[in-house]
Symmetry: C2
Subunit: 149 residues, 2 copies
Amino acid sequence: MTVNHQQYLQAAIDEAQKGLDHGGIPIGSVLVHDGNIIGRGHNQRVQKGSTVLHGEMDALENAGRQSAAVYRASTLYTTLSPCPMCSGTIILYGIQHVVIGENQNFQGEEDWLQSRGVTVTVLNDTTCINMMAQFIREKPALWNEDIGV
Amino acid sequence: MTVNHQQYLQAAIDEAQKGLDHGGIPIGSVLVHDGNIIGRGHNQRVQKGSTVLHGEMDALENAGRQSAAVYRASTLYTTLSPCPMCSGTIILYGIQHVVIGENQNFQGEEDWLQSRGVTVTVLNDTTCINMMAQFIREKPALWNEDIGV
């Protein structure tokens, strides 16, 4: 089966943009099962004062409680390479495939994911790269806070 | 400095018990900085329908946005060995010390934490072991859902 990654990545980018529009950190994510988006979300550090709702976490939280079978057959799309927290969550739930918008501005735990059998696809999408680069340039302190620096 | 782990572990156990009293999964956690508990929480899968608020995550969320310096000087106490998600969060925020109530009923990513320089102290406290063992016996499906099985 050929999957059109771009369609789902665009949904993640739309989430990132929504976050940016509300003064937040522009990282978005969607969880896709059987071709359907079952959860979408974006970083909520600013908007909710959340330290755990990175984009990927917000998408998973919004997907609600799912069975292990659903997670295992799902693909997680994220605009930015997943940090240790988000990578650990992918491993916890046995998500088998992660599609990453870009890893130029930040590289997370891709090696760890792959060592645990997760398929990692990096698109290095120009929209993702530019959006994140601009944000880091404009709000370096907020970005550092988000990655524990 | 001698730290009395039992005092903080007891606060984590109290959180776990609070969760149990409300029909939830009995895992609790506290974040301790400079001898003070700055965040406390417990697993919120049942109570909030949350897939990301494990006990450790709830404690960190309730601690609110902290500087990297605070995280680095903090110790996280948890009643149960931290799963990949919670371990990844510990690494993300550079928490240097994790004190674990027990790892008999579940062993998380202790090796990974140690490989990243985190000090891992396992107490194997009888109260923690018994509380979790009883819960797993009584509600195996809920427990499996919590660890992605």
